[in-house]
């Protein structure tokens, strides 16, 4: 049920971020629902495939949609139970998302375009640098709750022990927000609005897609953003004690807040120089590991 709500709402999140950016820079901006119309338009079109591509190129959009979908199934979206959680599923969570990225990188290389190769290489580099931050955050959550499944860490019977662990959890939330900025290809790492292939990272890897395939990828990217936005929201706003509808409302409000925050970040800072991005990602890991040390000390 909450999964369905999220699936319907996900394409609005990039729209909210874009709208925030437009308002803050004094423009009117595209409507929040723009991505829905884009998806609708793309689905009715046909797809064009380059003659140099192989089956890999066609697999990637499907993987790009299915992997975030499966990963969403591991999250306790209503604050209680995940549709299919199990012990240690946070590794599966990270692996699924890495798999989606891996197929997209392969597909980008498959096109044989040099720009796409460059984008793929950067995408892979940043993804591998952001993974420590994600895992260290999960370590802190596991230490704080004593649970090894995402369901137990983020929802479950007992709420997160705010109080003694508050500083560590705050750092985890900030670290997860940095992870979101990277994984959703937002500004300090990547610029979703850039028009120059040389500076694109995520955008260039999907450059050769058209029609329904592009729709799948866009929707998959929106799901990815919703997924990673749900992580800090779940850390900051424990929803286990609320009735289901209220928990869902809190989640949606949290997601919108995170999207607005992304928009604010995008309009308040420029993209980092490429050589500076690893520093940003290491900072995210440092925050998470500082949280882990604190959790071990107390």
């Amino acid at each position: 049920m909450s999964l369905l709500v999220l699936l319907v709402l996900a394409p609005a999140l990039p729209g909210v971020a874009a709208k925030t950016k437009a308002v803050l820079t004094g423009r009117r901006g595209a409507p929040v629902m723009q991505l829905y119309w884009d998806l609708f338009r793309l689905v009715r079109k046909g797809a064009v495939y380059s003659t140099t591509t192989t089956w890999m190129f066609r697999v990637a959009p499907v993987a790009g949609l299915v992997t975030p979908l499966l990963a969403l199934g591991l999250l306790p979206l209503d604050g209680r139970r995940a549709p299919f959680g199990f012990t240690g599923d946070f590794v599966a969570f990270a692996a699924l998302l890495a798999l989606g990225r891996f197929t997209l990188v392969l597909a980008a290389l498959d096109t044989g375009s040099s720009f796409e190769g460059m984008g793929a290489s950067r995408d892979a580099t940043f993804a591998s640098l952001v993974e420590p931050a994600l895992f260290l955050s999960f370590v802190v959550l596991a230490l704080a709750t004593g649970q090894l499944s995402l369901e137990g860490m983020l929802g479950g019977a007992q709420a997160l022990p705010w109080g003694a662990a508050a500083p560590a959890l705050t750092m985890v939330a900030v670290s997860l927000f940095f992870v979101l900025l990277t994984e959703a290809s937002r500004v300090p790492v990547d610029d979703p609005a850039t028009h120059l292939e040389l500076t694109m990272i995520h955008e260039v890897t999907v450059l050769d897609y058209s029609g329904p395939d592009l729709a799948l990828l866009l929707y998959g990217a929106a799901l990815r953003m919703a997924l990673f936005a749900a992580l800090p929201v779940s850390v900051l706003a424990s929803r286990a004690h609320l009735p289901v509808a209220a928990a869902l409302g809190v989640l949606v409000a949290g997601l919108v807040t995170v999207a607005v925050a992304v928009g604010v970040v995008e309009s308040s800072m420029a993209r980092l120089r490429l050589s500076r991005v690893p520093q940003f990602l290491v900072a995210a890991s440092v925050l998470a590991s500082l949280g882990a040390i604190l959790q071990l000390l107390t």
């Binding site: 290491v282 440092v286 500082l290 040390i293 000390l297």
Partner: protein
């Protein structure tokens, strides 16, 4: 109160990481100023029965560490017109990773160290981590001004350690230390200023080539 102290100590650590990770000289100085200000608030939080001793220490620390010294360092930057980048010998990413190791080591030591009296673990951790990070800045940043910043960080760490025995250390000793730091930084600032005027570079590695 304990919570608030933890929060202050944590912010001190985070600003330490900011110094290790930033590329700008002025950000380093501002961060060390904020660190000094936070440390000035710390005795007020740790010892809620405010005596003249704690109040004087807090006021003195904030005045010297958060206002006078940073203003002086920023003046030195402006007057000597140095380049505003940090130009480290060890890269930013490596510095940050070393910093997290420093905190881990400090935490491991702090839980075993028999410090008399009752204090939050984070207090001793922060003090040791600040000392190690200060040494790291001293060792890895070539700019003379940043060595002053590293020295200040080191002193901040020692100050935090001093807070574990606030009621036993006489007021005069604390103020004396503060004065020493003040004079030290003042002299370093003047020296930096004059070195720069004579040799138009502040890279301390090149000081080894000096002859008469």
């Amino acid at each position: 109160m304990e919570r608030l102290a933890d929060l202050l100590l944590l912010l001190v650590l985070l600003f330490g990481f900011l110094i290790l990770g930033t590329t700008r000289l002025t950000t380093c100085i501002r961060a060390v100023a904020v660190q000094g200000g936070l440390l000035g608030l710390l005795p007020l939080v740790l010892h809620p029965q405010w005596s003249v001793h704690t109040l004087g220490l807090a006021a003195g620390t904030i005045l010297v560490k958060a206002i006078v010294l940073p203003a002086f360092l920023i003046w030195a930057i402006r007057e000597s017109a140095v380049r505003r980048e940090v130009e480290p010998r060890v890269g930013y990413v490596a510095s940050l990773v070393l910093g997290i190791f420093a905190v881990a080591v400090a935490g491991a030591v702090a839980t075993r160290l028999p410090v008399p009296g009752e204090h939050p673990v984070l207090l001793v951790t922060t003090s040791l981590a600040c000392v190690i990070m200060g040494l790291q800045v001293l060792a890895t940043r070539a700019k003379a001004l940043l060595q002053v910043v590293g020295y200040l960080m080191l002193e901040n760490g020692i100050y935090v350690f001093g807070l574990t025995s606030l009621d036993r250390v006489p007021f005069l000793v604390e103020i004396g230390v503060l004065l020493d730091v003040f004079v030290g930084v003042f002299i370093m600032g003047i020296v930096v200023f004059h070195i720069n005027r004579e040799f138009d570079s502040l890279d301390s590695a090149r000081l080894t080539e000096l002859r008469d």
